[in-house]
Structure formats: structure tokens, C-alpha cells
Symmetry: C2
Subunit: 318 residues, 2 copies
């Protein structure tokens, strides 16, 4: 067992309160509130030369995406901000001010008021660690990842692979621009769709680490088998024009991560009725189905194909 | 203006929601909940060779102390945990597991259930940054630091200077032991006292950075002058036997920080009536009074004495 898994097991033993749901979910539930916290570290979740505005936007977006997956309405946030000694040529606090501009833009866009938090100094040379607690008001039903049932259909809100395709462009050329780079830098949390789908979803979660990895997690938590049809994947026009839509491109989109789309399980036929409650232009796609059993399988053009070695993206220090 | 003050001003411009109270307080208020977040960094708020159990306990205690100052009852916490590559001779995850043991002990002691959070990897060599969001249920009245009035009396729950006296012993000898070291390592948040005093307090806050500095903040926020009587300071028997009780010792106790005592302002005569609602053996002491004007003054043995150069402890990277 890795050190990280051991620690997570230790945390689960601490989290005996029913509201913690044994830490099996991305958010906690307390007195009608949904609570989530995500942290990001320089050199692990973002690169030191990423635009600070983008880092601020993404920190808000990843937390908002967790609220979206519960169908919750944003109510407030607490920020954990570090103030690091500046890199050569930069003014002290300049990076942080640009970071706050990006965070503020996302909070304004999605109605997440900043309520408090903490600002601490860091020793010289320390990578920044930034955290946000987002609080939402729960709707009539807050779906978890463990409620899906055999027979359910698996649906996705949003498109897949855009952010990773954008990151690939940036790795080749730090000055790359365009729709894919924009989606990587400014992911859009699916708040309105999450609110619309939550009441009817047997299970729902956001796809932050890749469709295949997150589907495998949903299937494991729910005790069912999941089958994904690669041919059904929602791909944007920008993605198709950059990477095509053959099997290689589809596997890239299914394992990339950073999508912040929503993955949800519905009883057969239910999802079609829900389409009218989604925001206009929402991309809402059936990508697979659940059955008795366990694990994950993959099909394309009507034939079963082997699972890729890596189902998705797990953040590691680089 | 320092970079930190500029950033705090930038944050205050973002925090326009009434629940944020313009970030002037240590906690936010939302739907009957009190929310606070504190982060600590290795090399700034604790030493790399501090016992990890003590670091975990203190992270819980500083957040619980913020809830105590609002008279709130602990309801839950979200932890931001970093997993750092181990130092030479240590096993990966060993520090973190011992840290969690200390955190768990404090959470158990004060009824703060762990509900969720995030565990992230850090790059090699990065100092740890640990954060906790604590959520409490508000009582009938949540005092802030800006409600004190001229004529109020200033009272303290707890004793002052013990933690800093304990730290001094540890700086001299890393193996020092005893009551003062215990208080430094395992501060006690005054939750029951906070609940008892909150309904009648015009203003209340915890003393985390030293009595004089925190009193100056309360006076500034409330728009009044504060006068502290050094002779009235609550000093423990352990403190007096280690450092005496002359003016030097009293100034040390009044400026040390890390006390996690409560400071509260009451209308004249009110505090005495409240004593019977405090937990048995609570140390509840009148230390000063408020009047029209601004700023802070200090008296001892009936004469006014000059303010020390440093009113308290502000955390800086070492």
C-alpha cells in the first residue's frame, strides 16, 4: 500500500461522522450545506510559468465543479492564500495579485462570494500551495458516486479531451492560443446542469481525472460494472480539428483529465426527459451503461477493445 | 504598504458579501454557521523538528479557538493535507500519520468531526503547508471584534504567557518538559467559555498574537481606546515559578502570542454575573477598560508606562 493510500485509510478511520460519508465522496454534507475543499501546489497541479490568473480561475472552478456534481448552489468560499518571496525580476505580491484577479473573475462569474480565509507567509524558495473551501446550498437531492444501479445509463454533460489537448499545445509552445488553450486555462464548471440533473441522478460526479478513471471509481463505489462506448464520446469541433476522432484521439479524450464535465447515472429513458431542463447549448451525451458485475469495459465500433494502461490522470509531483 | 497588506486590501475588495464582514473578523457567518480557515507552514508556524502530533493538535486548536471566540459549537472540519517526500531516515507518510494522530486527538476532545478535505502531493524539498476549515453552529449572538463600546470592561478567559514561556524552554533545550511545554504543544481552545460569554459580549476574539496586539486590534475595529492594567494579567503558577511576575515577566506574557485565551468586552458589571455560567476552574479576569478615543495604553502599579516596541507576535518566515 502506498503512503498516500495508507494516509487516506487513516483519514477514513477518523471520518466516522455520517456527514463525512466515509470520505468516499468529493464533498461533505452538513445542515443542508455541501462543503468541499481542494488544494493545488506549484509544480504538481500547475506550472510555475502558468499565467497566475489561470491558476486562480482554476482553483475556483475545480471547487465549483464539486458543488455542481452535488447539484448545489454556490453560497460562499474561504481562501487559503500563501505569500511567497518573489522570483527574480518579480515584485513581491505581484503573482498573488494576478492570481486573485483570476479567482475573483471565476467567483463573479458563478456567484461564489469570498467570505474569509487565511493569508500566510512561506519560507524563501517554497512552492506555493493554494486552497479553497467552497460551500454550497444543497438541493432536494444530493447525488453521491455510490448510488448507481445495474441497468442505468451513463451520461456526460460537456465535452471531453479539450483541456488536455490545450495543455499539449502549451507543452509544444508556451505561447499557443485558441479555444483548446482557453478551456485548459479557464474550465467551466457545469453548475446549472448539475442543479437540473441532481434530483433524478442515481449517481453523479465531476470528471476531473479522465472519463475512464472516474467511471471506474463510480462503478466501484456503486458495486456495478460500467461499459463505455468510445464512439459515443462528446468531442468538440476544436478537439476534432486538432487531434481527429480516430480511436487514438478518443482514448486520449477518455483518459486526459481536467475536463470538469459531469458524469451521471440515470434509470433507462430518464435522461432524455431532462434535456429540456438543461441550459441552452448544453452538450448532453449518453456514453455507456451499467450492469451487474464489477470493473470497466470499453467498446468501439461494436467490438470490445482492451483498456489502456492508464485510465486517467493522477496528480503527482513532477 | 507591504505586499501582505496590499493583498489583504485586494481580498477585502473582493469580499463584498455581508457574510464576509469585510474580512475584518476571524470567521465568516452563513446560514447560521460560523466558518473559519487557518493554514500553517513548516518553518513559519512550526519547526520541522516539532513533534508532528503537536502540529496536528495545534492546527485543530487554532481553528477551534476561532469558533470559541464566536460562541459557536463545533460541527465539522475539512482538512487540507500535503504528502511531502520524507526527510532522510524517515518513512514516507510517517510524519503525516503522526500529525493525523494529534489532529484526531484534538478533534475527539472537542467534538469536531472530520468531514472531508483534500490530500495532495508536494514536490521534493517543499515545506509542508497544512490547512483546516472548521465549521460551527452559531449561537443566539455571534460577537465580532468591532462591537465594543466606551465604558466596557475588558476580560480574559484563561492565562497568558504560558505557551511562549514553554517555547522559550524548548529553544534552550529541545527535550524540555513540564506544564509550560505542554501548553505550548497542546493549547486548549476555550469552547465552553466562549459559548457561555458570547450572548452578553459586546465584542470577543481569541488572543492568538499577544494580549496587547489583539487588544489594539479590537480597540481599532470598535473605534475606542483600550487601557490594560499589567498588574491584572492572569498568570499561571507554572509561569510565575519559571519567569516571576515582575514588569518584565508581565510584558513577556502580554506580548507573547499563542495563548488561545479569549478577550471580551462587556458593559460594566455584566461579566461578574456571567462567572457562574463558565466551566468550573475557569480563570476569568478583568484586565482593562475601554473609553472614548483610539489606541492602546498600559498601566502598572497605578502609573502609566510606555508601550513596548512589539505589541505581539506576527508570523513571518524564518
Amino acid at each position: 500500500m502506498t503512503a498516500e493510500l495508507k494516509l487516506i485509510a487513516r483519514l477514513a478511520r477518523m471520518a466516522t461522522h455520517p456527514a463525512a460519508r466515509r470520505l468516499s465522496d468529493d464533498a461533505a454534507h452538513l445542515d443542508g450545506m455541501v462543503l468541499t475543499h481542494d488544494s493545488i501546489a506549484e509544480g504538481v497541479h500547475y506550472r510555475a510559468d502558468d499565467p497566475p490568473e489561470s491558476v486562480g480561475w482554476k482553483l475556483a472552478a475545480v471547487n465549483l465543479s464539486d458543488l455542481a456534481a452535488k447539484g448545489a448552489t454556490p453560497a460562499g468560499a474561504l481562501l487559503s492564500l500563501t505569500l511567497a518571496p518573489p522570483q527574480e525580476g518579480a515584485l513581491e505580491g505581484e503573482w498573488e495579485e494576478r492570481f486573485l484577479n483570476g479567482l475573483d473573475a471565476a467567483c463573479e462569474s458563478y456567484g461564489l462570494p469570498l467570505l474569509g480565509g487565511d493569508t500566510i507567509a512561506l519560507p524563501a524558495g517554497a512552492p506555493r500551495v493554494l486552497g479553497l473551501t467552497a460551500i454550497g446550498r444543497a438541493g432536494s437531492h444530493s447525488p453521491t458516486r455510490d448510488g448507481a444501479m445495474a441497468g442505468d445509463e451513463l451520461w456526460v454533460v460537456g465535452t471531453l479531451g479539450d483541456a488536455m489537448a490545450g495543455l499539449s499545445l502549451l507543452v509544444e509552445d508556451r505561447d499557443a492560443e485558441g479555444a483548446l488553450v482557453d478551456i485548459y486555462r479557464r474550465p467551466v464548471p457545469q453548475l446549472a446542469a448539475g442543479e437540473a440533473l441532481a434530483p433524478a441522478a442515481h449517481a453523479m460526479m465531476d470528471i476531473s481525472d479522465g472519463l475512464l478513471l472516474d467511471t471506474a471509481r463510480l462503478a466501484q463505489a456503486s458495486g456495478v460494472h460500467a461499459r463505455i462506448d468510445l464512439g459515443a464520446l462528446p468531442l468538440s469541433a476544436a478537439f476534432r480539428s486538432a487531434r481527429g476522432e480516430d480511436r487514438t484521439a478518443r482514448l486520449f479524450a477518455a483518459t486526459g483529465g481536467d475536463d470538469y464535465a459531469l458524469l451521471a447515472a440515470f434509470p433507462p429513458g430518464k435522461a432524455r426527459e431532462l434535456r429540456k431542463f438543461l441550459p441552452p447549448k448544453s452538450i448532453f451525451t449518453r456514453v455507456g451503461k451499467l450492469s451487474d458485475g464489477e470493473g470497466l469495459s470499453l467498446e468501439h465500433d461494436g467490438e470490445q477493445i482492451p483498456l489502456p494502461e492508464h485510465l486517467g490522470h493522477e496528480h503527482r509531483a513532477s
